[in-house]
Symmetry: C2
């Protein structure tokens, strides 16, 4: 049995709980038993040696939201998990720096960590190294974070396989933001007539952007993903030194509200139109990409042009795409698909949990 | 330490030995120690408790080809592996039915099986079920066969993740033959002028086809891959009942030699030109695809048309491509890249071996 505790059971954590509840009723449960034993959010927590699964999916909601739930205390939560029998994985569904800083503590107590939270792997390299070191023992606890890049797409597992089998990474290039994918797939195609600000506006009202779209357009989310990919590939990347093209017009970076930003964005439609027209005139399209350079240390995040027959040019919707160019794959190995959303992110976490279960959770509980 | 024994160390096995030898000299070896302890081909064999790795890559050649090597005896080979300390994986690099029939014996003796050989998973379903059953125990031996479909591309691992986490497979569609990919990528593009027989001839002389190209054009290799994908997805597919479009013209199926086939193929150029012209006139291209239908049991292998902006239409060279349409991925999850060749096939095997090592090989030897 693998015990699972979820930190921050919101949208993604909720989807994960649903998938786990369905799993608990499937015939596969017998060989890969996973059981939810703890839940904590910023206010309340619940921990139990009796697991929350299967028939009683709603039980966790009651447990954590109900009047009988106790006040959240991460240190007490951690201690309770550490004394459970069998293997236990903590699933961090927050995007919190503070929670990410707890990974070394959890690992040192023998708790596995599975998470879509990018912070532990893209903040200061010393935290990343500590996490790596504490999860390096063949028999010790592990950290799996497939869903930090491309949600459930098999990106980090593939990169890990390439690296561990000795392939040489030449270049990793991709469209890693669902928002920026959606924006440029709609704005930069031959014959499209929508203005850039209109595209942003549609994306915002369709729920594709952060509440303030500048949090997408500044490229920092992509920079974190490039940093993670680079580090997994063995490079010492840092979001502080990585060249990142912020496509928020300089004049709008300081405006105080998202509303003001949106209302002034049309002033810059001409700027984006010019970039787009130039790209289209040269038979290309604009795409906002992240790139890990395994050879010349020229990793970057930027708006770039791709020829119309390039796989990045035919991307649709808000899909992510990644191309690994390596010694063994001079024509790149490409993976594409939905890289954001609760169900596919939960899928990435769940697949990681099954790997933890296979390695550590098949003993007696 | 994970002990590895290789059956049929030819082109793929040789590439695997090279990758393993490089690994033995890398810092990663410490946490994932893999050691080659046995080799057997159809004539000779060598087995040793002292491993063949690292500095002495050539040692295996001497061991198995040298005058001191003993006559191959699979039963003796198996018995010697079964008594080794620690975990042992047999890597079947043949394409033999007979060797595949040994998997149940190997598994029953606690030996793991890793292989690019499609036979064990696409021959009679009773063999597949026996293999599945004997590798189902959470602590028992495992069978990994990533390289049976798309060589090192992460196809079966992704399908497994989808299935095991409870996603519903709607459709799996792809171009699974490097040869047929190459043929139609060159023959069926707007503006191409090469005749079909010329494309086959170029593919043959470039080494892309089997010695007799009919072994590619009859679709049986693709049918085996579709059968494997379907079975991993939980369907009872069989190569005997799967509808497979054999594109070898009927009149040429009975001719005795590859030479005669090649010399008479131009008689059918008009037939292929007509199919191609019709596809191109409708804004599509021809691609030879395999399809697993998870909903309506209409799985098949056939020559089909794809619109020019479909990812299959922009495929290049001899790349494979696969699209998983599922409940969670209504816009398919797509993987593409080299799906054949010694180095990438060996990579797929090696990545599987690392997974076996992580799960079973990290104890004391």
């Amino acid at each position: 049995m693998l015990n699972v505790a979820i930190v921050g059971p919101g949208l993604v954590g909720g989807a994960l709980l649903e998938q786990l509840a369905a799993h608990a009723q499937s015939p596969r449960f017998a060989s890969l038993p996973i059981s939810v034993v703890g839940l904590i959010n910023s206010k309340k927590m619940a921990i139990s040696t009796k697991s929350f699964t299967a028939q009683d999916l709603d039980q966790w909601k009651t447990a954590i939201l109900g009047s009988s739930a106790v006040v959240a205390d991460l240190s007490q939560f951690t201690d309770s998990l550490a004394v459970l029998k069998g293997s236990t994985a903590v699933v961090d569904c927050t995007s919190s720096d503070t929670i990410a800083e707890l990974y070394p503590l959890w690992l040192s107590k023998g708790l596995h960590v599975v998470t879509p939270n990018k912070k532990g792997f893209s903040n200061d390299i010393s935290l990343f190294r500590k996490i790596q070191q504490l999860s390096a023992s063949p028999k010790g606890p592990v950290v799996y974070h497939e869903a930090t890049v491309g949600a459930g797409l098999p990106i980090l597992s593939t990169l890990n396989d390439l690296v561990r089998t000795g392939d040489k990474i030449v270049k990793i290039e991709g469209i890693f933001s669902g928002t920026l994918s959606y924006l440029f797939n709609n704005f930069s195609i031959p014959g499209a007539t929508q203005k850039f600000s209109e595209c942003v506006s549609v994306a915002k009202s369709s729920g594709y952007t952060e509440p303030d779209p500048r949090d997408d357009l500044n490229g920092m989310d992509v920079a974190r993903k490039v940093t993670i990919l680079g580090r997994v590939a063995g490079l010492d990347l840092s979001i502080d030194t990585l060249p990142v093209e912020n496509i928020v017009p300089e004049e709008l970076r300081g405006v105080s509200s998202a509303e003001e930003f949106m209302s002034r964005l049309p002033e810059f439609d001409e700027h984006f139109k010019k970039l787009n027209d130039e790209a289209l005139a040269s038979g290309s399209v604009l795409r906002y990409v992240g790139m890990v350079d395994g050879v010349n240390s020229q990793s970057s995040v930027k708006l770039a042009r791709y020829a119309r027959d390039h796989p990045f040019a035919s991307l649709k919707g808000s899909d992510n795409i990644i191309a690994f160019t390596t010694e063994r794959f001079p024509n790149p190995l490409i993976i594409q698909g939905a890289g954001a959303g609760a169900a596919v992110t939960a899928f990435g976490i769940f697949a990681d949990l099954i790997k933890v279960c296979e390695r550590f959770g098949t003993g007696s509980a």
